[in-house]
Amino acid sequence: MPRYIVSRLGLAVVMAILATLVIFLIANTVPGDPALSQLGDLAASNPEFLKAFRAKWALDEPLWTRYFIFLKELAHGDLGISIASQRPVLDDIKNYAPATIELATVGFLLSAIIGVPLGVIAAVRRDSWIDHVARFLSLIGVSSPTFWLAFIVLAIFYGELQIAPGPGRLDPIAFAPTNVTGLFLIDSILAGDWDTFRDALAHLILPSTVLAAATLGLITRTTRASVLECMHQDYVRVARAKGLTEGKIVMRHILPNALIPVVTLGGLAYANLLAGAVMTETIFSWPGLGRYTFRSAAALDFPAIMGITLVVAVTYLIINLLVDISYALLDPRVIR
């Protein structure tokens, strides 16, 4: 097991370095002067700025020297200065990431905690009413466009029924808890501030539900299909011939096998939630990475886009690593 993890980790590091290379090459092979695209028109018009920039990134040196300088700066957390905000990109990302992580994680947990059991029950009680309900829910989740769903739930639960809070992470009049992790749920618990915790949780319900909808549908369907397949394996018949109860057969013999494909899907889905919540964040005024990405792209804020791309790539790699490790935990055949 340790050897397996080390080898997977090594692979992830290699992939991460490759990702930096790709990002570097894209940034440095765009037509035109890299200094111009990196600094923005305003700053580039200042000759002092321009000179300092050219010196720092050694723009007159060959490409590979510049790549090593880029790597060195990266190691010190320097992702450049955002053109739009004129602040270090890393600071911007640190600002926006927690909101996204909180939203995506709650959304993902919601879809997994509901989706997996629902898929299992739908498979075990195949063609019963619950199977039909699950199929209907999945269909809605997978097929409704996110912006549509977001508007609908906002209109119903916030506008009409007024049982859910409006957009934003907290009530406009509330203060954010002391920043430790940037995740409001955790920070408020750390501060022992239960009112803020409740407020943050209430604000999470609608956007995370919207975000979870599509993932929930996918997880439910995949779990159901996977369980159905495992149910007809020989070892399940053997388990039945041993006299095990149906509950034990499902929990101990079917589920661990059936979860293997679900883990792959779950990892991908989680990464997608982290990287692709632009629509939901915009509609719910969620100050997350999605909105930062959107703004940076619209403003052609090149350093910010590079920074985000790198963060997304690393996120994918980390999640991939986690998926690989869960594989090894679920399936002993993975480590030979």
Partner: protein, 699 residues
Amino acid sequence: MQDLTRISSAETATAQDGAAILDVRDLRTYFYTDEGVVRAVDGISYSVPPGETLGIVGESGSGKTVAALSLMRLIDDPARIVGGEINFDGRDVVKLSDEELRKIRGGGIAMVFQDPMTSLNPVLNIARQLVETMVVHGRLTEEQALERAIKLLGRMGITAPERAVDSYPHQFSGGMRQRVMLAMGFSNEPQLLIADEPTTALDVTIQAQILELIVELNRDFKTAIVLISHNLGVIASVCSRVVVMYAGEIVEEGPTEKILADPRHPYTWALINAVPRIDRHVPGQRRLVTIDGTPPDPLNMPAGCRFAARCPFRIEKCEQHPELLEIAPGRKSRCWVTQAGGDLPPPETSRGAPAEAKARPDVHHGSETVIKRGERMLELRNVVKHFPLPKTTLFGKQKWVHAINGVSLDIAQGETVGLVGESGCGKSTLARVIARIHEPTAGSVLFHGQDIAHASQAQVRPLRRRMQMVFQDPYASLNPRMTVGDILGEPLRFHEVTHNEKETRERIAELLDVVGLPQKAAARYPHEFSGGQRQRISIARALSVRPDFIIADEPISALDVNIQAQIINLMIDLQERFGLTYLFIAHDLAVVRHISDRVVVLYLGSVMEIAPADTLFAEPLHPYTRYLISAVPIPDATVEAARQRLPLQGEPPSTVDPPSGCPFRTRCPIAQGICAEVMPPVAEVRPNHFVACHFPGQF
């Protein structure tokens, strides 16, 4: 014997002597499919006294497995038990509540299934799977169960059981997994163990070990055994009584030795006749006795005797359905002819006495055939094939599978060479190297004098016309989206054997005729044919380009015995008609003996022995060959009982890290120091008899 593996010291066979532990009455299990009702088990009755061994035999589809699964109500949805009683230990299983049923499952009745590779849960370790079996029946705690699991594994012949319990199924070979399944089966000391084709997926050597174990367990635990098999030899080596099933019914029942020596139902008679015997070979008699046709359509059972369409002894009365009646003390048959006291001719295989056959070993296979043989067609010299293993870690060392390690072999025009050995010993790889599907790592392959070992595909192409392959699974090797006509026409056009559509059509018609298929088959698709017919199509395709050499890799292994016999007969006919040369790969040694002129024994990618078939089987000189032959069960209860079986222990070592010197030395009982150092050369110990052993014939 006070065995550590017993739970209680009390005798488990509690039922009063005489009273059956299992009594099945008129059991019917039907499948309610979209096409109609399939009467898979259609009114079977039998009983099993405590501690007895009962065999159930019949071809695939006859209902054996459904009948077995029904005993524990393990059948799945479209199937339902629609009638009858299953009295186990005085209670009717059919009527039990789910809760009571669970107590019987794995408690009173245990079951071992055919495929050990899929019967264990891949993600749970062995300990967990064994322990839960015992704990669920509430007789042991987790700790006690683990302790017992270790003892049971040891009893089943698994080395270092304390470590083995922590393993996962994928770390075990098929034979070891079947031992785990047996440990699981016996863990609650059931009164009845049902074993459904427990050795069909295993090699003969491992099969012999498992059957031996089952016999011992039956003796030590007093557990009654119901053993299902299509192999009469397997039944003969374990069971005292046998039930023969055909088309969902029992057609014959009686003591094993009586049924094998004197079958009283034409179907049993046909089964016994269809299999060649490894212990006898009647010179000059190459064709096997077969019956025509296939079992009746289960959706549309005939009203009269279900065997009538294939029965060589049919009479007018057979249009009525016969009952299963006692025809002699302890013997029952479902046949009008034998019920009326009629006789079936004695099985062909028992006609020529074995002594007679031994006395004239040369008539068919001896010097005469050697002279008759033509020029050398194929010459292999030191052929080596190693496969790289996929690396497990990024910077790990490259490992190699040593599939073939220096094989030299000549095949002459017109002869049949049999290739035998345990699975994984490199038979298929060798076949593929000869056919140049694989390029050998080293060595030369001369086909008609031309070295094709490293030839380009373009150079091989004209020769490929003369060398064709037939595979084990005819379905996988036939494109399901092509009609049979297209399948046969493709090589004709590709190799430009025919030059226009009319010629192609004529040739297809001729080919269908040659392999005994109707002309209208050309317009149909592979899935519309039975396994045997599909193998005829594969053979027709191989013949289409008029090859002189055919490599048949396990061509009959997936087929029922009667169909096997038909295909063997077809291959023999074709050889005589077209002067074909065969390389015939099979794990069934009796069939290899029957069809081959010479036999090559392969072990771990090396040749162990090459000799004319009769010589090899009568006087094997290599220890491995002796073990192989000894492992084959013989469908004759008297012979089986008198036979001293040589149990080959263990399993072949890894091909990634093969032993030094003689590859067989890790399992050889007469291995000496030299065997670990020097690989024995393949030497001609007697005329035409080649052996790779430092001490040939000394075992």
